[in-house]
Amino acid sequence: MRRALVLIGLLASTSVVIDAGASAQQTPAKPIPTEPAVAAATTAAPAAPAATAAPAATAATAAPAATAAPAATAVPAVPDVHVAQVAQVAQDAQDVRRAALARDPALLSRAAAERWKDFDPERLTPESLPKDFLVAHAALAQGDLPTTVARLAAVLDTEPDFPPALHQLGVVYFQLQRYGDARTCFERYLEVVPKRIADTRGLGHAYYSLGEYAKARAHYERVLAAAPKDFENLRGLALAKYRLGDAKGALADLTQVLERDPVHADAWTWKAQVLLELDQSEEARVAAERARDLAPWSPRPWFVLATALSDLGREPDSRAARERFQALSRHDQEIRRLESRLEHEPGDFDSRRLLALAQAEVGNRGGARRELARLAADRPDDVTVRILVLDVLDRLGDVEAGQLAARELARVGTDSAAAWKRLEAWYAARQDRMRQIEAGERWRRASQP
């Protein structure tokens, strides 16, 4: 039963980000990953949940940022898929992935009418699921969206309209910024299992990202009626209202979201923006400052703050916020470019390395850790990766995670002079004399011909 509930969680929590103009992808569901994420970054364990948490929503529309949905709990690792299967996923040929991405979901086979009318996810267990679905799940956890699409399509070829696959395909298309295809999948899902409306906030997100704000609002309202505690849906509704000119309605909804989740940086930013629209500049400033404090690496709160300060006639403060915005914005453009590339080519090592460095550059500890975890997972025995991990954590001032990374570097780089040289410097900076001396000695030995 626990596993069945896990699956329901998967359906209900469309882990997508909408309106991410200001690097929503950098806004973690929780401000800073917890210790297990650090361990993942340094021990090569696949950082499963994070992989689905934050698509790089570069669509401009997707302007206003959003928060990664509660992905960490929503998309659990599937225990039935062991490491060998995951490795197999990674080996899917590029042409297979490209062929999968070239498919039009509108042309997928359809089930006979009412084939799924009695569908009840409560009755599903991982053991009863198609193997391709489980592998897709694992690929998604690895951040390999093309393979996820390929495997979900395979499921739907053999079991047309299988609701969990349709739904998950919608989520993945959304993450790939294929909003029209996401809409196709979610709409089909609702056709097949109309009672599952509560699962489909992602359809509202798709409408919204396509600029269909009236349809988005109507759909969010339907989901709200079925799932009144889905605050991510409520946030979507707020944004749709704002786009349709109902700033007061948007403000009321965002206020509710923030009562539920007071550290929702994106909701604070949106609240600030809506307040600006309502000419409440002082309140907008307060909200923007809150957002900035929660996500200081994200340019958007700084942008809104600069605007609010300017409206208040506080030009020197506005200029300072603007300068910070501009500095962050330059990095943000590069981050979005790299993230977009990695969505289609998750194995592009250089892009992921650059992304980790860019996240570190803006001080986005969670974002940097996530990319480091994936690098380490892709190349678990690569000393240069381990050194990079340590370098980045060092730059971030993340000593706790750095110590774990140092241990991993020592383990992987037993005979590597470069590893011990780096470790010597690390321990010297920590004033850990004993380990520093030991690392220095190992470096000298490893350096000898």
Binding site: A60, A63, G180, R243, G245
Partner: protein, 550 residues
Amino acid sequence: MIALVLACSGSGDSGSGVPAPRFTEVGAQALPGVVTTCGSPAKDWILEVNGGGLALGDFDRDGDHDLVVVDGSTVERAEKGEPGNPPRLFLNRGDGTFEPAGEPWRIPPGRFGMGIAAADIEGDGDLDLVITEWGRARVIRNEEGRGFRETTTESGLAAAREWGTSAAFFDADRDGRLDLAVVNYLDFDTTKIAKRGVGNCRWKGFDVMCGPEGLSPEHDRLYRGLAGGRFEEITAKALFVPSSAGFGLGAITLDYDLDGDTDLYVANDSTPNFLWENQGDGTFREVGFQRGVSHDANGKEQASMGLAAADANGDGRPDLFVTNFSGENNAFYASKGAGFRERSSQTGLGGQSIPFLGWGTQMADFDLDGDLDITVVNGHVYPEADRVGTDTSYGQVAQIYVNDGAGRFHLEAMSNAPPMTLRASSAADLDGDGDLDVVALGVEGAVRVFRNDLKRGEAAHWLRVRLVARDANRDAIGATLVAKAGEKRWTAEIRTSGGFQAACPAEAHFGLGKAAKLDELEVRWPSGAKTTVKDVAVDRVLVLEQEAPK
């Protein structure tokens, strides 16, 4: 592609009960056989995707609007040192159809033509040209309405080989002579930029041509007009240098702060847009961020292409409209206080534009009902846009956003023409029937002419006003006009810049709705002098000459 067409297949009713204007694409009759080239259809290089430029204006001084088409070339020809296709003038027969101008109007070919600016540089009463190229910008002088003569060599324009896109004439220092801004895109060099498929440049997972991201933007240039139709570069002296160069594509002049001097707004691709505030002495300060027009409302720089400026919300100050890349909304910046606030979605201009990649645009009263509508011509830069999962398409329909008079715009297809890959566009009354027609260039191929087939009723009055200044540039670029009828006010500004790589006639076109006459027409000339005319008859072209200075 189907989605993009359906999204625009309106019923012909704007939603306010007012029939939407209908255009008929008559390019095959108006300009038979006229086509342009811009590289290869595969679009392996970014140089090949912007298309050429066009200018509408009365070049032969016969009272109707003629057309200059700027044509391109191919990368291979340009690299071999072979000339590109020459720009061509087509003379209006008076009915909105055109014929090639004769030999006196022949314009020599350049390297690879891009955009165009038109104005009476010398103040001798005829329209001259500046043509931007991937190469050196060129000056083409009009010899008293009888033919063209190239004067680039002695013009004073920089000899540097740059990629110029749009250009704009305005009197920046208010000395009575027209100055010139040339907007540059990026440093294009096939030895430094990888070709599509080689450069590992991707969009939505597909191999596409590289750029502009990752390439080097080029700074724009500002020139001061001198006697004899020459120019002097004053880019640095006028402080016309931003902290970071942008990938410049569009330019439009406007007096955004109503202080009497002319400012300049520049659309940049993938980099923040610039608003150059004239300091009153011919120097400039870039205030795009401070005035709220550098980014969208979420602080994201957009890939901006074309520009329009006009007072759409009736507060007497110009608003701005910017066309952007697919996946981004076109941006409407409403004037607010000392600056602007983006109100794209709230006015209905945001969401509907997201699947489209917009280029040329005009803000004008196309249905003559007394409020401003917006036309946009669209078309993607990547042929790969037709692949699965892009949420857009390569060919796209031209659109009109019809103002409902209450602050919202409703999207309609401009015509029944099929989706096309359009770029530059300009609007003018080509057939003399009072309403505005639109000419557009494709990235390559046939020139398109959208004839406005508005069925004029009692509530569709209009007035076209041309100014002749005596104490400023002759066409009065930079002048503002306020038309008044009862409680209604319409504001317009004289310019020849706007859209994308295009020039429009230096005149104000007012759609007046039910107003069968104007109580008053007020002109503020570029010098600051004012003229007021009472009881102005409408449905005509009014030429207003400034009184000679005493």
